[in-house]
Each structure stands twice: as C-alpha cells, then as structure tokens.
Amino acid sequence: MVDILELPRARVNASMLTQFIDRPVCFVGRLEKIHPTGKMFILSDGEGKNGTIELMEPLDEEISGVVEVVGKVTAKATIMCASYIQFKEDCARFGMEDSTNI
C-alpha cells in the first residue's frame, strides 16, 4: 500500500467523515477522551462534533490538547491513524472551525 503521506489528503471535520470513506484525510481536533486500551481516542472538531481515531498500536505517550491526525477513513466513519502530531499549547486559540469549511 502506498504510504499515505505521499497522497493528497483532504482536511475534514467530523460531519464530513461519511463522505470520505476509504479516502486519506487530515483531521484536526481537541482531544476529548482516550480509550483505556490506548488504541483509540476521540477528538472534537471545530464544530464540537466528535471523531473517533483508531490506532494500529496503542499509544506510547500521553497526548493532550489539539492534535492533527492523518489517516484513512474506515467504513465505520472512524479514522485509522497513520500519523499524528500535537499542536503546541500556545496555539490553543486556533479557530478550527475556519479551516475546514473552505
């Protein structure tokens, strides 16, 4: 499978996930909850809706704040995460609702 980081990825929010099934996307959201197993976490997007992110391996570090996830949308409208980065804390006032509605 081609590395997802070589493909164009659309920036989406939670309500767009169903339209992007099986496609590579980039999702930015604030961390709401991490599943106890560490293999899944929930981000809330700019509109406040939640998106579920699944991982191949459990998280090996504590994550918090705003996270950007790159991955592929599964048939269940969750994202299978290929990579993620955390935004710095001083970017907390990031107007997320503005970047996806373009």
Binding site: L5, E6, L7, P8, R9, A10, R11, C26, E47, G48, V66, V70, I85, F87, D90, C91, R93, F94, G95, E97, D98, S99, I102
Partner: protein
C-alpha cells in the same frame, strides 16, 4: 501620499535597500516588518495589510523589489525610475514582468507548467511563492539543508535552503521535523521534478496563520487569474461605489495619471487614502477569527 510615490520612483537611488526590504524579509515576519524606518516600514506595513486584510483587493502579494532592481523594478511604466539607461535586453525583459510572491499549495506547484522559463499555474505566472506545511524530514549537508515539507495537498516537496558558511549566521539551525513552517522561495524544476529554493523558512507561531494562508491561496489565485483574463485590471466586483481617484481604473489600465500602476494606487489608497479602505494598524485576521469562534 508623497511618501509612497517618492519611494516608487526613488528605486534607482537605493536599490539595495529596497531589495532588503522586500525580497528577503519574506512573508512570515509579522513583527519585524515594522522597522519604523520610514519608507521601509510604511511599505512593509502596507504589504502586511494586504496580506492580512480579508478585504485585500490586490491579493497583496506584489513584491516591489522582487528582482534586484529596486522599487520600480517590476513596472515598466514608472517614469525615469531606474537610473540605468543602458539596461540590457534581458534586464528589460525581467523588469517588464510583474513579480508577485504568490501563496500556493504544493499540489498547485506540482501542476504548474513551464514554458519559456516561466512557470504558470493556470494563467497565473509564478516565480516566488509561499507555502505552509509541516516538515517531515530534514537532511543537513555542508552547504545546504534539504527539507521535505508536506501541506497535505500532495506528497511532500523538497525545499532547499542554502546555508551561509559564515559562522556568525543564525541560519544554520535546522528546523526540527514535525514543525509547521511557512516557506518563501523560488520554484525550480530539474529533470521534471519540482522543488523550492527557500530564502526564508520560519516556524509558525500561531496556527491561525495556517488558516489565513489557505484563504490567501484562494484569494490570490482568483484575483491574479481574473486580472490576467480581463482587460481592466481594476476591482470590478468589489468597488461598486465608483472609483476613488479619477483616472485610476478607467481607460488606460496600466498607466494611471499619477504615474503609479493600478496596483500601486491600490496600495496607496489602502494605506493613506479613502476611508473606505482604512488600514487601522493591526492585522485583522486574529480579530476576525476571534469573533467567529463559537464557544
């Protein structure tokens, strides 16, 4: 008013100063543009106003000193500006071409066509561009650093930054991977592979700048392709309430009566001119985004 006009025509007097003010200060220095040094500061403020003002009418990306020919470099019509009457044919040709610094996405850069050594995206000519993306990879060599910058629109693009071998330079520090940066540089194509040669790479300090860049990409390309398509290079859809100064947008489009081009007139109006487009002094993007965020 006199200040800007004088500056445009005084390009011949201080070409080096102009170049430093425009070509190298780049697009990302939000607080270093206000040098307070009179002309440099004012023009830089005008440019930042254009870049930040959502009502920016010119697209805001005209680098007045894009080549090394000073303020009047890109505009053939400026009377008596150059001070070098023996310019060679090649110099005249590059001066005749208007130099913009255009915000782009990587997928746009990859789709650009190259004809006669000119890159074009659609019908927009590009040379200097800005992109915003995240660094995936950094390779340091003795004379340069090659980053792979990824903005999600396509595969990561190679960005080369030449390193000043002089030890006193602060450019030697490599930007760490997984940082969002704004890159300003020239587009190059070698063996059909596109890359950028960057003259400025700075990490983003505020992610709102990323949102602003996306909007600027759309704005700039729409404005530039519209002005290339139409005969009148004015602002037909935006200024409905009649034109500010006579002779700006009517009739001859590229040589208004006061000796400035259409774009220069727009900047002048923005900074000094009519109350319709008053530039208050702080970039309005953060204020706009604050008011629109839902709590």
């Amino acid at each position: 008013m006199a200040g800007v006009r004088g500056a445009a025509r005084g390009g011949g007097a201080g070409p080096r100063r102009e170049t430093r003010g425009w070509g190298l200060s780049g697009v990302g220095e939000s607080d270093r543009l206000d040098r307070g040094g009179g002309r440099g500061g004012r023009e830089a403020a005008a440019r930042r106003a254009d870049a930040n003002d959502c009502r920016s009418l010119t697209g805001g990306f005209d680098s007045f000193g894009g080549s090394s020919y000073g303020g009047a470099g890109g505009y053939t019509q400026s009377p008596g500006g150059f001070g070098s009457p023996t310019a060679s044919q090649a110099e005249k040709k590059s001066r005749a071409r208007v130099q913009h610094i255009v915000p782009c996405t990587i997928s746009q850069l990859l789709s650009a066509t190259l004809t006669d050594e000119v890159f074009k995206i659609g019908n927009v000519e590009i040379s200097q561009v800005t992109i915003v993306g995240i660094i995936r990879n950094a390779e340091k060599a003795p004379t340069n650093i090659v980053y792979k910058v990824d903005d999600m629109t396509a595969a990561p693009m190679d960005v080369r930054q030449w390193v000043d071998t002089d030890d006193a330079s602060g450019e030697n520090t490599v930007v760490p991977p997984e940082t969002y940066v704004k890159v300003a540089g020239h587009l190059r194509s070698f063996q059909n592979k596109k890359s950028l040669v960057a003259f400025k790479i700075i990490p983003l300090e505020d992610m709102n700048e990323f949102t602003a860049h996306i909007l600027e990409v759309v704005n700039a390309h729409m404005l530039l392709s519209k002005s290339n398509n139409q005969v009148s290079a004015g602002r037909p859809s935006i200024s409905n309430s009649g034109m500010g100064e006579p002779g700006n947008f009517s009739g001859n489009n590229f040589m208004p009566a006061n000796g400035l081009t259409v774009v220069q007139n727009q900047v002048e109006e923005l900074v000094f001119g009519s109350p319709r487009f008053q530039y208050i002094g702080t970039p309005i993007w953060p204020m706009l985004l604050e008011t629109t965020s839902v709590t």
